[in-house]
Symmetry: C2
């Protein structure tokens, strides 16, 4: 797959993920046990009784981490790998439930040279995570480092 | 531990995490293998050669997930558990490396009633994650749901 330098990116370009990630109850509970052990992420009966959730849902941080995995495996291939400086926004739009299959699409929003790192640029991207019904479940806007082509 | 309702929170209150989370190379690599499989999160030699990293570092999403775990275990105990609507910002300020021990402090930034959910309010919090040298490694600003006290 083509590796891209900062100069190869342009605002408005879209990059697809190359695969999907299937979600199951065991995976939701395992992530939650390690990182987000609220009872409604660990137990179906507790989750059913929660009026905001109405059933087992993945931790938002699980969805965000899966999204990163799909991004690393996507067509977006900045030289040097994907190294994030930070995130401008995450919105969790819909619950992620057992049986869902998540896919991503990433759009380039902004490009700017790095002031502190002359050999690198910063690309701002919006990554939307969709379920199998093509409904968006999460949007994340992040700032990634990309190497510049040697002069 | 006291469970707090929306009315019990006030802007400027600070809540401490009750424990620390020790980081080791095996944990960094295991998280990265699942969610952020860039070579510089998986292999010490590759990480040493990366001029922006100069050694093995945790995925930012690993730091964010550990921060969520420390938040769930912290003095901040909104009734109904911690349920995030989204994140306004994440900044990864310093690398997180094997041997680090992470702790958190959370400050209440804003409080507002939920327009769509009459029984709930939204609390905006800033959670700072520190290493053992008390240097901040991550800041995250997030919006959490909290139940209102029954009238």
């Amino acid at each position: 797959m083509t590796v891209r330098y900062f100069e190869d990116f342009a605002v408005g370009q879209k990059y697809l993920g190359l695969g999907g990630c299937a979600i199951d109850a065991a995976g939701i509970k395992a992530f939650a046990a390690a990182y987000d052990p609220e009872p409604f992420h660990l137990d179906e009966a507790t989750a059913e009784r929660n009026p905001a959730l109405r059933g087992l849902t993945a931790s938002g941080w699980h969805t965000a981490s899966i999204t990163m995995r799909l991004l690393v495996d996507s067509e977006l291939r900045p030289a040097g790998g994907i190294l994030g400086l930070g995130v401008d926004e995450i919105r969790w739009l819909r619950p992620v439930r057992p049986g869902d299959v998540l896919r991503i699409e990433t759009e380039i929003l902004e490009l700017r040279p790095s002031e502190s790192r002359p050999g690198q640029g910063i690309i701002k991207v919006r990554t939307t995570t969709f379920n199998q019904a093509k409904e968006p479940v999460q949007i994340v806007i992040s700032n990634l480092l990309a190497e510049r082509r040697a002069a």
